[in-house]
Symmetry: C2
Amino acid sequence: MATASALDAKSLVLPDPLPLDSGQVLPNVRLAYETYGELAPDKSNAILIFHALSGDQHVASLHPITGKPGWWDRMVGPGKPIDTDRFHVICVNVIGGCMGSTGPASEGPGGRPWGMRFPVITIRDMVRAQVALLDALGIARLHAVIGGSMGGMLALSLAANFPGRTERVLAIATTARHSAQNIAFHEVGRQAVMADPNWREGDYYGAGKGPEKGLAVARMAAHITYLSEAGLTDKFGRRLQDRAAKSFGFDADFQIESYLRHQGIAFSDRFDANAYLYITRAMDYFDLAEEHGGRLADAFARSTARFCLVSFDTDWLYPTAESKHVVHALNAVAAPVSFVELSAPYGHDSFLLECPPLDRVIKGFLG
Amino acid sequence: MATASALDAKSLVLPDPLPLDSGQVLPNVRLAYETYGELAPDKSNAILIFHALSGDQHVASLHPITGKPGWWDRMVGPGKPIDTDRFHVICVNVIGGCMGSTGPASEGPGGRPWGMRFPVITIRDMVRAQVALLDALGIARLHAVIGGSMGGMLALSLAANFPGRTERVLAIATTARHSAQNIAFHEVGRQAVMADPNWREGDYYGAGKGPEKGLAVARMAAHITYLSEAGLTDKFGRRLQDRAAKSFGFDADFQIESYLRHQGIAFSDRFDANAYLYITRAMDYFDLAEEHGGRLADAFARSTARFCLVSFDTDWLYPTAESKHVVHALNAVAAPVSFVELSAPYGHDSFLLECPPLDRVIKGFLG
């Protein structure tokens, strides 16, 4: 059995083709994942962390492209809230992604990259792949699944669709369905990518330049939704960037402009544009109630897990009302659930930032 | 003196070059405008309406490109809240615009279109040009200035910078300064335009195709900010567009996607991309307090007008707090001001939509 150091990059090809919600079947599915901490001999101490849209499996290890610490390094490690001295933590790059798991940039039929021939996938498809990985690893029941944002959608989806596979479900800053506004912002991003002539209908691999500019615009628009208005005012306000006065031109006069441009460029340096299309599409398609006959409570009817929902008061992407909606559905089937709205200034991204109350909630819930 | 029918398109070249906040001087400034209703012999009944970012002078007359009714047709006309049986209503295309007033698409030095050689302008520059038009028309003092969104910024700017020129100032759904989040959304739009290779550094006039795709993406992102989350949910929710099930593709499955794409394309059919860059820049530069030594109250110290501020409870682009900020500044200089927050479901765009309480406020304030 794998007992891994944090820097031990792993991947596995699923033994069976993966059935998809679209009706298609995805062959030769490779899943790239990271693990942290020892798996107990009885395999009872595994925690599966699901990453968000722009995240990946490098939850607490250096990112191989940027060289930066993992995206939840502050949360996962020895003695940290998700304590790798006690738990065996697994994080898997989602299918459709671009960090080693099968996605649109992977080799497809005919030996060419899939590109837009890649099937449209869903959140449930992503979960199905990871459950197949758990099967391959011989892990029958997880101690917990944990995820924020899109990761929270995967956590809820696993609870609904594979109800016996986890004891605990921790869903942070998330929703059981994408709203019209959520879809709208993603559609802007997709159109920005597709408007870039270097996108070439998704067939840009090996073509030299890809749709980096379009992807950067997509990321800029999305990034605004991850931050609160008050947080932006506090962090940037109308302060100018490295200048004493406005330039009366179109340079990045304001710090917020410079920051957003940097976010856009940095993202397009590390992320595949087609993966962005496919993953945002999966999120927009997500509606857990719809999958279960239209009533969200029915999605959780067979669940045996304990749930914990966390929202942030300044999150306008997936506001507290969305978490409460899930809590009410869980209440309707008498599922054990705790819920807390945390106060944090930085909007949706608060789950990734310094927020000691979140640390305490997570540590406490994991027992 | 001009007494005009609604369909009488007018324009005038200012007799003098226009000094700009940048220090540059703009020569041969043409202003395209519309008027409605008769000007009284003593010229005391003129109302100047300022249009918003994507608006123009066709406030209550057919748009010459789209053939649609004017953008405030429901508000301006005989017997309407802004009653053209009583008032002489003037609306001027802002400089930097693309509906006949001098802007980046106009002929510049060397006989070629200005393009990005056009000077960066400010909200105050736009106002200065319109005050020069009033001078040319012999209108010393307006009955009122009225504007929503960017139009409200012009109204406040006129009150601050030309304090003797109006008796009443009606500023709707607006702000005295662009916030970091406001700037952020505009910067996304500008980057979307500039990322389009057909933009050609702004030198696309006569080049066949312009940056329509980039401009459409910019408009899509902006359009989301004009609507409330609840309004989007109410109007579109997760309803599918002309299909019974998701396509598992990248077509506009959802109504909100189809709607946004349409908004983007329709806008790029009627608006000049460079004008969009210049006008958004002017809005981002807008900070009425900064212009007046850093204290907003000082901006209004010399004003003799009566003010009315209106906000909408679901407007998250320029939320009620921004209007209150202006009201407090006016209070600090004992200026007569009334303020109302109206309840309307559709966010920022509520000022353009059916909202009977707004009609009553406007009618009442005009006396």
